[in-house]
Amino acid sequence: MDVTLTADDIAFRDEVRAFFRDEFPDDIREKQDRGIPLEREDMVRFQQLLHTKGWAGVNWPVEYGGTGWNIVQKYIFSSEMAMANAPDIVPFGLGMVGPVIYTFGNEEQKQRFLPDILASNVWWCQGYSEPGSGSDLASLKTKADRDGDEWVINGTKTWTTLGQYADWIFCLVRTSSDVARRQEGISFILVDMQSPGVTVNPIITIEGGHEVNEIHFENVRVPANNLVGEEGKGWTYGKVLLEHERTGTAGVHRSAFRLNKLREQAAKSVRGGEPLANDRNFMRKVAAVEVELKALEFTELRTLAAVSSGKAPGAESSILKFKGTEIQQAIDTLFMEAAGYYALPFVPHQFRFDYPEDEFIGEGSETTTALKYFNFRKASIYGGSNEIQRNIVAKHVLGL
C-alpha cells in the first residue's frame, strides 16, 4: 500500500495542470468563476478542445480513440479538471451512449456514431424515465413496433436533461410484452431528434431553470439498424451503463474544490462582517463534510483499483452514488448557510457578462446559493434514487 505518486504520475499531473492553465478558454473560465451559466456552445467548445488534445474519451478504450489512462491518471485528470473549475463533461454522449455502442453495438453503428460522440459533434440525451416509470424503470411503456425495416415508436420520456440541445436521443423502449420478466422485453434504441413525431416540452424546475424536458414520440419511425445489440437486451445494457456511470457520479474532486472555496470564503470578511471561520459551529460542519468526502475519495479509488484489476464495478458503485450526492447536497447547504440573508434575492438574470456592476446584488455568487441548494435536491432522486441505491446494495451486496 502506497499513497505516493510516481515521477511519471507527477509529470502527467504537471502536463494536465499546464493545459488547464494555458489552454482552457479565458471566457469559459470567467463564466465558471463568476457563476455565469454556460451556453451549449461553451460546453461543446470545451469538449472539442479536450478532443483535440486526445483527452475526451477518458474511459474509452484506445482502439475507439480513448485515452487508455490507468486509474491514477484518470484520478489526476479529474482532480486537475475540478481544481481548474472547468465544467463537467456532459455525460450523455461520452459517458453513456458511447460506451454502450462500443461495447454492444455492431460495426456499422460504431463507425457511424462513435467518431461524432468523441468529437462532441453530436449532442446526445437520455430517454429512460417516463411519467409513470420513475424508480420502477422496468415498468416503462414507450413501445417500439416493428414495421418492415423500421421501428415505430410511441410514448413519452421525461426528465430528459438538456434535451433542448440534443441532436439524438438513446431510449429504452418496449419491443415485446410477451415475456416472462418485464425486463426482457426492453431494447436500447437510437433516435434522431429531427425525426417527424418527436416533440420536446420544457419542464421548469424548482429554482426556475430549464434543464429538463418531457419528450413525446408519436409514430416516430426509426431504421431497424438503430437498435443497439440484441433485441430485448436493453435492460442489461442500460444497467451496465448505470454501474459504470455511478463510479463517476461521486464527484469527489468537484466537491473538494467547492469545500476549499468555502474555506477560503469563510476566512474573509464579507461587507465588513466577522469572518465565518470564527463561527465554530459552522466550521465543525465544514470539517465533518470534509471527512466524509476524504473517505469517499478513497472508497472510489478502491473501487477503481478493483475495476482496473479486472473486476466489474459491482453494486458497491451504488455507495458512490448515494454518498457522493449526499455530500454534494451537504456542501450546497453550507454555501447557502454561509450566504445568510443574501441567499434570498431571486436575481438569476444578473449573472451575465454585461450586467451593470453597480446594480449587482450580493457578493460573488451568494444569490445563487439557495437556487443551487433547491436545484440539487434532484441529485438524490436522479440516476436511481438514493433509496433505490440502498435497495441494490441490500440485495446484491448484503444478500438480503
Binding site: M1, T4, R280, R302, F322, V393, A394, L400
Partner: protein, 375 residues
C-alpha cells in the same frame, strides 16, 4: 498509488486470521478477560513466538521493521477477534516510546524483554484532570542530587495493573499545560512509592490508577531529553490512535456481518426480519459506514507511512469517523439484534462495548472534529 498488500503483509494477515479462527473463539476470550490479570499469558507468549510483538521495531533492535500499514492489518484482525491481550499498551504505547528514545542500554533492559514477551509495560499518559490533553501534566519530577523524584498520579493506565514497567511523563519545567517541560521516565513497578489500584474496564480490558509518592529514580531511567518528552508522546499517541481505529474497523465490519446474518435467520411475522426494507436500509448504512471508515483508515495509514503533511489531519479524520460512524454501527447492531443484543451472553454486546471504549479514548469525536475545523 497502490492498494495491494505486499508479501509480508499478506503473510501477516494470513497468520493473524488463522490464529483467531483456530485458537481464539469468543468463549476463550471471555475466560481470558475474566481471569485476574485480564488476558492469557500463554496467548501473549504465542504472539511473541509468531513475531507479532516485534512488528514496529527496527531490525537492529530485534524487530521486523514494520510500519503503520502492517500495524493496521494486525489491529483490524485483533478487532475482529476481540483480542484482550495488551498489544496496544505494550507494543504501540510503551514500545512506541522505547523505540524512539531509549538508549542502547535501555533497549536491552526493557525493549528486548518487551519484544520477547517476558515484560509487561504501560504508558501512563492520562492524568485525572487532563481529559484528552496529553500536555496537561501535573505529575512532577525534580532533581535531588543525581536522582529524580516523582510525585503525582496517573489514571486509567491501560495494562497498568500487570505492568512491570511504567513509562511516566512528568513535568520538569513550565506551566501545567505547556508542551515544553515534559520528560519521560521509566518506572519499575517494584519501586518504593508506586501505588497501583487496578480494575477491569467496561470493554473487558484492564487498567489502573497509579500514584507516585516520592518515587526515586536514577538518571539512567530517564527516557529521551529533559523537557523534550512531548514530541515523543504526541507521535506515540498518533500511532496508538491509528491502531485503535484499525481495531475499530475490524469490530465495525464483524458487527455488520453478524447483524446481516442474524437478520436472515431471525423470523418474525413469518418472514426473516432481513426482508423488511426499513431494516435493509439501516444495514446498508452500516455497511457503508464500514467501507467509508476503512477508506479513511487506509488513507491515514498510508499517509503516516509516507510521513506527509496530511498525517495529523488524517489521524483526526479517522478518529472522528470511528467515534461517530463506529458508535452508529455499534448501536444499530445491538438494536437489530433485538433483546439478544443487550445480553451478556451474546458476543455482539461485547464488540459494542469495546467499540464504545475506543470512542472514549485518545480524543473523542468532538475533540478531533474541533482540530479539523480549525484547519
Amino acid at each position: 498509488m497502490d492498494f495491494s498488500l505486499n508479501d509480508i503483509q499478506s503473510m501477516l494477515l494470513d497468520s493473524v486470521q488463522k490464529f483467531i479462527n483456530n485458537d481464539y473463539d469468543f468463549d476463550k476470550r471471555q475466560s481470558y478477560s475474566d481471569s485476574e490479570q485480564g488476558f492469557s499469558s500463554e496467548v501473549w507468549t504465542t504472539f511473541a513466538e509468531l513475531g507479532w510483538t516485534a512488528i514496529p521495531f527496527d531490525e537492529e533492535d530485534g524487530g521486523i521493521g514494520g510500519g503503520p500499514v502492517d500495524l493496521m492489518i494486525v489491529m483490524e484482525q485483533f478487532g475482529r477477534g476481540m483480542i484482550v491481550e495488551p498489544y496496544l499498551a505494550n507494543i504501540v504505547l510503551a514500545g512506541g516510546v522505547l523505540r524512539r528514545v531509549a538508549t542502547t542500554e535501555q533497549k536491552s533492559r526493557w525493549l528486548e524483554p518487551l519484544i520477547g514477551g517476558e515484560l509487561q509495560a504501560a504508558l501512563a499518559f492520562v492524568e485525572p484532570q487532563g481529559r484528552y490533553d496529553i500536555a496537561n501534566v501535573a505529575t512532577s519530577a525534580s532533581k535531588e542530587g543525581d536522582d529524580w523524584v516523582i510525585n503525582g498520579s496517573k489514571s486509567v493506565v491501560f495494562n497498568g495493573g500487570n505492568a512491570g514497567l511504567l513509562i511516566v511523563p512528568a513535568r520538569t519545567s513550565g506551566e501545567q499545560s505547556n508542551t515544553d517541560g515534559i520528560t519521560l521516565f521509566a518506572v519499575e513497578t517494584g519501586a518504593d512509592g508506586v501505588n497501583i489500584q487496578s480494575y477491569k474496564t467496561v470493554d473487558g480490558h484492564q487498567a489502573a490508577d497509579i500514584s507516585f509518592d516520592g518515587v526515586k529514580l536514577p538518571d539512567t531511567n530517564r527516557l529521551g531529553n529533559v523537557d523534550g518528552g512531548f514530541a515523543v508522546l504526541d507521535a506515540v499517541i498518533d500511532d496508538a490512535t491509528l491502531a485503535v481505529c484499525a481495531e475499530a474497523v475490524g469490530i465495525m465490519r464483524i458487527l455488520t456481518e453478524k447483524t446481516v446474518e442474524y437478520s436472515k435467520n431471525r423470523v418474525q411475522f413469518g418472514v426473516p426480519i432481513g426482508s423488511f426494507q426499513a431494516l435493509q436500509h439501516r444495514m446498508v448504512d452500516m455497511f457503508t459506514a464500514c467501507e467509508q471508515t476503512y477508506s479513511l483508515l487506509v488513507w491515514a495509514s498510508m499517509t503516516a507511512s509516507a510521513g506527509g503533511d496530511d498525517a495529523k489531519r488524517a489521524v483526526s479524520s479517522i478518529k472522528y469517523q470511528v467515534g461517530t460512524a463506529g458508535r452508529k454501527v455499534g448501536e444499530e447492531a445491538v438494536q437489530l439484534h433485538g433483546g439478544m443484543g443487550v445480553t451478556w451472553e451474546l458476543d455482539v454486546a461485547h464488540y459494542f462495548k469495546r467499540l464504545t471504549a475506543i470512542g472514549q479514548i485518545l480524543g473523542n469525536a468532538d475533540l478531533h472534529l474541533d482540530r479539523l475545523a480549525a484547519g
